[in-house]
Each structure stands twice: as C-alpha cells, then as structure tokens.
C-alpha cells in the first residue's frame, strides 16, 4: 500500500493534506473501504432495492457492460446488484455472530479474569477443551440440526468463535489486576463493581471492540464456507457464499464474471480488516496473537 503512495497520485495529495505518516495510507484506505462497505450495505434497500426472487430468463449470462457492471448470472440477475446484498447479508451474519461471540466470550473471560484463581483455571481449561473442537465441524453440526437458515448460520458462527474473545478479556483483566492503580483504587475503599466499571471496563472495552471487528472476517468466511457446502442460507438468497457457489458452474461454461464480483468483495473487505488488524497486532504479545488466529 505504501508503494501506491510513492507515485504522484490523489492518494499522495490526500496524505499530505492529512499529514499521514507513511504506512498509514493503507490504514486510511482500509478504513474508507470498511466505511463504504458498511454504509453501502445499510443504505442499499433504500437506494437500490432488490427483489431477491426476481429472475430474467431473457437476460442470462450477459458479460459485464454499462447496463450490468459485473454481468448477469445464469438466471439473468445483475451480479453487482446481488453482490451488494451479499455483502449486506455477510456483514449482518458477521456482526450479529461477532456480537453473540463477544457477549459469550466477554462474560466467560470476565468471570475468569475478575475472580482469578481456581475459577479461572477451570474456566480456561474448559475453554481450551472446547477450542479443540474443529469450528467448522461443530458449525456444520449446528446448522444440520437447526436446518440451514440465517439464524442457524449466525448461531453456528457465534457459538464457535467466542473462545478467543474470552481469552483476550481474561488475560487483559488479569494483567490489569496487578497494576498499581487498581490496588490503589481497592485500597481507597472502592467496591468490586465500582473498580470493574470505572477502571477495568475502560481498558477492556477497546480490546473487546477490536476482537469483535476482527471476528467479522472469520464470520464472513464461515458463512461463505457453509454456503459453499450447501449448508448456508437458502440458495436463492443473495449471499456471497451462494453467489460463488452458483458462479462455480458458470466459470466452467465461460461466464467467469458470475463469481468474480462476490469473490472480489470478500477479498477486499477482509483485506481491509486485516490491514487494520495488522497495525494493532504488532503491539500484541505473540501468544495472544496466536490465540486470535491473526
């Protein structure tokens, strides 16, 4: 990304205006991509409504053109239009699942980190044991039993991805407990809850927020993987996994564009999140990094 900025480009001008350090250009670009993705998928139903079940059998497999920027698929549906809605679904699954995971992980990690000692050891052992379950297998099991649907996909991602959050919260809390200012607060007669609210939460929340953001790409992959296996959302709904799955057949018959747009959307969005994460991970202990699967 830094290489881009070396050339005289609008980006460079923007950077000089914003007084960014080299390397921050990538972060800003990534941030912009994410903002556009989130705002775009929030506004889509108002600006560019989509009939999920519409087909146009007289316009199948048209190559990209001005009328259809990313071409049309086997059923004559506009690929770009559906990719926007696919992103919307993926981000929704990602956000809700990450939220579920964050709440679960925050509570378990919070209990372990605040109480410490024996409770902490037992809880963390349990977390380790659950971590040994392959997520995808467990996710497949959950989806198979609840039947493939939006709710099942969210449950399958949320219920399998809270472990790293629990570990982060717990290790952050444990390290805070040894800090002098906490001792001072407790020594000053502050109650447990007050310490938690005034001193611990403000430190933990940013980490928690980041952990949640970082989980979104995982959730997006999970959704696409399940859809690819035919276990995701109902196949007529526009989701990135469904679109790639549909496009796989088109690829073989020459309509390469059907899976290109959804693939590019996945890569760009996850890359943007990864770039943001890269800035952050440099400041983390390798062990924590590994646990986050960064």
């Amino acid at each position: 990304m830094a290489d881009l900025a070396a050339r005289p480009s609008p980006l460079r001008i923007a950077r000089s205006r914003l007084r960014l350090l080299p390397g921050q250009a990538g972060v800003v670009t990534a941030g912009l991509v994410l903002v556009v993705a989130v705002v775009g998928s929030l506004l889509a139903p108002f600006v560019w409504p989509l009939d999920q079940s519409a087909v146009a059998l007289d316009q199948t497999r048209l190559a990209p053109s001005w009328a259809h920027l990313a071409g049309t698929d086997d059923l004559g549906r506009d690929v770009a239009h559906r990719a926007v809605y696919g992103l919307r679904v993926s981000l929704l699954v990602g956000a809700v699942a990450a939220l579920v995971a964050t709440v679960l992980g925050g509570v378990i990690g919070g209990i372990a980190g605040t109480l410490g000692g024996r409770v902490d050891r037992i809880l963390m052992r349990i977390v380790d044991t659950i971590a040994a379950m392959p997520h995808l297998l467990l996710g497949i099991f959950i989806v198979a039993m609840l039947r493939p649907s939006l709710g099942a996909v969210i449950a399958s991602v949320g219920l399998t991805h809270w472990l790293s959050t629990a570990r982060i919260v717990r290790s952050e809390l444990l390290s805070l407990r040894t800090r002098p200012f906490i001792d001072a607060a407790i020594g000053g007669g502050a109650g447990r809850l007050r310490v938690l609210r005034r001193h611990l939460l403000p430190h933990v929340l940013p980490r928690l927020a980041l952990a949640t953001t970082l989980m979104i790409p995982h959730a997006v992959w999970h959704e696409t993987a399940l859809s690819f296996l035919g276990l995701g959302l109902p196949p007529h709904l526009a989701s990135l996994g469904n679109m790639i799955n549909d496009g796989q057949g088109s690829l073989l018959t020459g309509a390469w564009w059907a899976s290109l747009a959804p693939g590019v959307v996945i890569v760009v969005v996850t890359l943007a999140i990864a770039v943001l994460a890269a800035r952050w991970r440099d400041r983390l202990d390798p062990r924590v990094r590994a646990e986050l699967h960064l």
């Binding site: 079940s53 519409a54 087909v55 146009a56 059998l57 007289d58 199948t60 086997d74 059923l75 004559g76 039947r147 493939p148 035919g230 109902p234 196949p235 007529h236 709904l237 549909d246 796989q248 057949g249 690829l251 073989l252 018959t253 020459g254």
Partner: protein, 532 residues
Amino acid sequence: MTRMRPTFRRLVASTAATGMLVLAGCSAPATPDSATGGATLVVATSDEPDALNPVLNYGVDGASLIFDGLVTRDNDNRLVAGLATALPELSPDGRTVTAKLRDGVQFHDGTALTAQDVVFTYQAVLDPTVDSTLRSDLDMVESVTAPDAATVVFRLRYPYAPFLQRLTLGIVPAKLLAGQDINTAGFNRKPVGTGPYRVESWTPGDRLVLTANERYFGGRPRNDRVVVAFVADDNVRAQRMRAGEFDAAELPPKLASGFDADATYRVQRVPTADYRGVMLPTGNPVLADPAVRRALNLAVDRAAMVSGLLGGAGEPAFGPIPPTSEFADPSIIGKPTADPTAAGTLLDAAGWTPGPGGVRVKDGRPARFTLMYPASDTLRKDLALAVTADAKKIGIEVTPAGLTWDAIDPRMKSDALLMGYGTPYDPDFVSYKLFGSRFAGQGYFNPGSYRSEVTDRALQEGRDQIDPALRKAAYAQFQKQLAGDVPWLFLAYLRHTYVLKSSVRGVAPRVEAHEHGVANSLWWNIDTWTRS
C-alpha cells in the same frame, strides 16, 4: 507432456509404469488399451446408492448391472424375458402369474439360481422387519411359491394389469442372506448377483468397481471392467470429465452444453418421463381456489423455462404421462408460452381483484403462498424462482423457500412444493398414489390431499383392466381431469444430459425414469459398450 517439470514427469512415468493410465499431462484425451477389447470404462454419477441390494431399493426397475430380474427391458423399454425363459404367463382371472426360470444361470459365486432365490427375494421385500420401501408397490402379492426348482408362482390379491412390470426386481441369492438382518447385512456392500458384472470393490463416496461376469447368461460383457465414480458435486464432475477421467458422466444441462463445441465429446440428451412441477396443496386457502390454480397454469412460461433453465434439454409438461408414452393424451397440451392476459381474466372473473402492491385480493385475503424447494437441488431452485416471477406478473405473490427435505415434510399440506417424479413404464406406477384420494396426506404420495372421484375411478380402471384400449381410455380421462383440476402445475419433462467421449460406441439411449444413477441410466447396456 513436454510442459511438465521433471518431478511431474517422474511421477507420471512411475504411475504409468504400474499399469495405471494417467490422464494428466496429455492434451488429447487418454485412450487406454482400446484395441484389445479389454478396456475399462469409467462412468460418473452423483447418485450413490445406499445399499447394493434390490430388496433395499437398488435398481428396482432393472438395468442394475449386478442383478437380473425375471424380466428385463429392451432398447424401447418393452418387457422381454430375463431370468425367466419367456415373459411370465397370467392366468385368465388375472390373479396368478407363473414364471419358468432359465436353465444354468449362476450367481457370481458359482451357485445355481433356483426358484427358491426368487421366492426369498420377494418374501424379503414383503417382510415387515425389512426396511424395504418397495413393499407398498407389491401389496397386491398374496404369496410367492416355488412348486419346483425352476418355477415361481405369484398369487395376487386382486388383478393388477402392470404386474409383469414389477418383475424387473433383481434376484438375490437366498443362501447368502437367509437368517440375517437384511437391513444391515454385509451383503449390501458386497453383493452377489447373476448380472453382467461382479462387484470387485466399493469405496463409498469414491467408486464402485465392477468386473465382467465371464459366465453371464446373456453373453460375456464386451469390456473387462466398469468403474462407476461417485462425484456428488456437479462442477467437480464436469471438471473431471473435462480432464478426461471419465468415458461418460451425467451433468446438468448447462454444464453439459459446455462440451457441445468439442469434437472429442458427445452430448446425449435423453428423453425421460422425469417431470418437474409444483404440487399445489388443497389445504392452502389461496391454492384451494381452482381459479388460482388454473390461472397459474396459464401464467407459467414453460418455453422460457425449457430454453432458459434447461438449456433446451427438455419439453414443456402438461400432465404426468410423458409424451413418449402410448398412454399420453394429446388433448391436454396447452400453450408452451405464458398467457398472462387469459390468467388475469380468469382471476378477475373469480373475484380476485388487484390490490395494494400489485397483489390480488379476494374477500380480504391476498393472493399469496409459499413455494418450497429442496435447497440442495439447483434446478428446482431455478424453477421455483421462474414460477415466482411468472406469478408476480398476474398479481400472485409467491415466496420461495429453500429447505431440507425434513423441513419440507411437515409443511406439504399447506405450502406448495417443487416436486419431481415420473416413470415411463406404466401410467399406474406413480400416478395411482400421487393423485389417488386414498393416499391423501400420506407422505410424498399425495401430499396436497387432492381428491377427485373421477380421477380415482379412472386410476382404478386403468389398474383393473387388462385390455390396453380400455386402459388407454381410462388414462385419457385421468389426464383430462387433472388438466382441469390442476392439483399440480406441470412445468417440464427433463432430458437427462450425459457427456460421453466420442470414442465410446454402443450407446443406446432409452426413455429414462426419474430415478436413475448406477442403475437404469444411459449406461444400462454398458456391457455392450466398446471404445473405438
């Protein structure tokens, strides 16, 4: 092979040296030892059987490659003698069927076939502790006996015109199965039959390897070995076909059309009795109105579905009896394209007036229903969406729902479903249960609880009468009644599409049934296939 790096070359060379043909690296498709006639033929399908046992529904309609029935079918699906010396005889009262067995037929393990094996096979199907779902198809059988080692006598509860068609069921050796739990017997994985091929090995999820039965009573197969590769994913199957691994593969029409332009392949589009349609349940308040059903029947654009979704590999369908059948009634054939105007007029006349959001309303009830389709079936998904789009044009709002079968199951009484069925052998076979009121609400038989006395009578007549002319008249009436009542929205008869290497000879397509896979596919006569 010139483009290969040395490491690949070495690997390829070593594999080739062990006698296995390597397809990678050659720009032309590989042609193994074809001249000797000892070739191995490889076919690929998505449909892997659960068990290779006719009692447990494997290859029930014959052409199972491993087993033989008392009768079998020729190129035109006409019944001819199989293990029986001639077509079995029917007694004048239509309730006794006697079959004489061929002499000297042996099972793959060398034991001789006797009438006792036939009796055992049919009794196993009728045994309530065996999980055979054929039982309901044979419920006319009162007893099966073997007066001597070469004679089998079926005694029927009632005369049943197409009974001989049921005798394609493969015969299993009693000796290997007697006294065992047939549901879980090892035989189901490593079966022994009398057919043109013996099972050499079956790696579930991967392949079934069959070797020629030297002692086959119909003559030794013209090839040494047949490999059936099981590749569930359509795209993967197409890729491996393209890579030259298979001699023949079944592919969805759209993927198959990718091979049309290539002279090294040949695409076969085989006519079938395999129809797709929308089952319209009478338990749904909107669909209960015949006007809505008839309007939908006029509104669907079958021609667009055939050309747009099936890539031309199909025919518009208007009823459950395929146009290739002698029982088909031409009078029910409607317009293949949509007629939204006529549909609108019909709805107007019935009191469904345009309402808010373009959805028609009658007595405060909007014209809305849910259309379920099995989520793993791309074609049915596509058809469901096409129906949804067509219905929208006449002011009926359809919500498609992609579900698993077990989720579809409990909802069939009130939600429409994209179904597929059909067999070319006898009009009684599927339709008697699918449209008979006796089977209303029973599983997948008549899930929409369609009831019509005229239909019931016609179906019963078709089953009871032996005289073909009377049967034909009965089924003509049946088809007309269905066309008026529209319990189903028949959409299209598929053509099963297969891609073959051009070098394969001896292929003889015949009209296929809905159910096809290892058995009863294009390769029903693979024992006579050769490679040029």
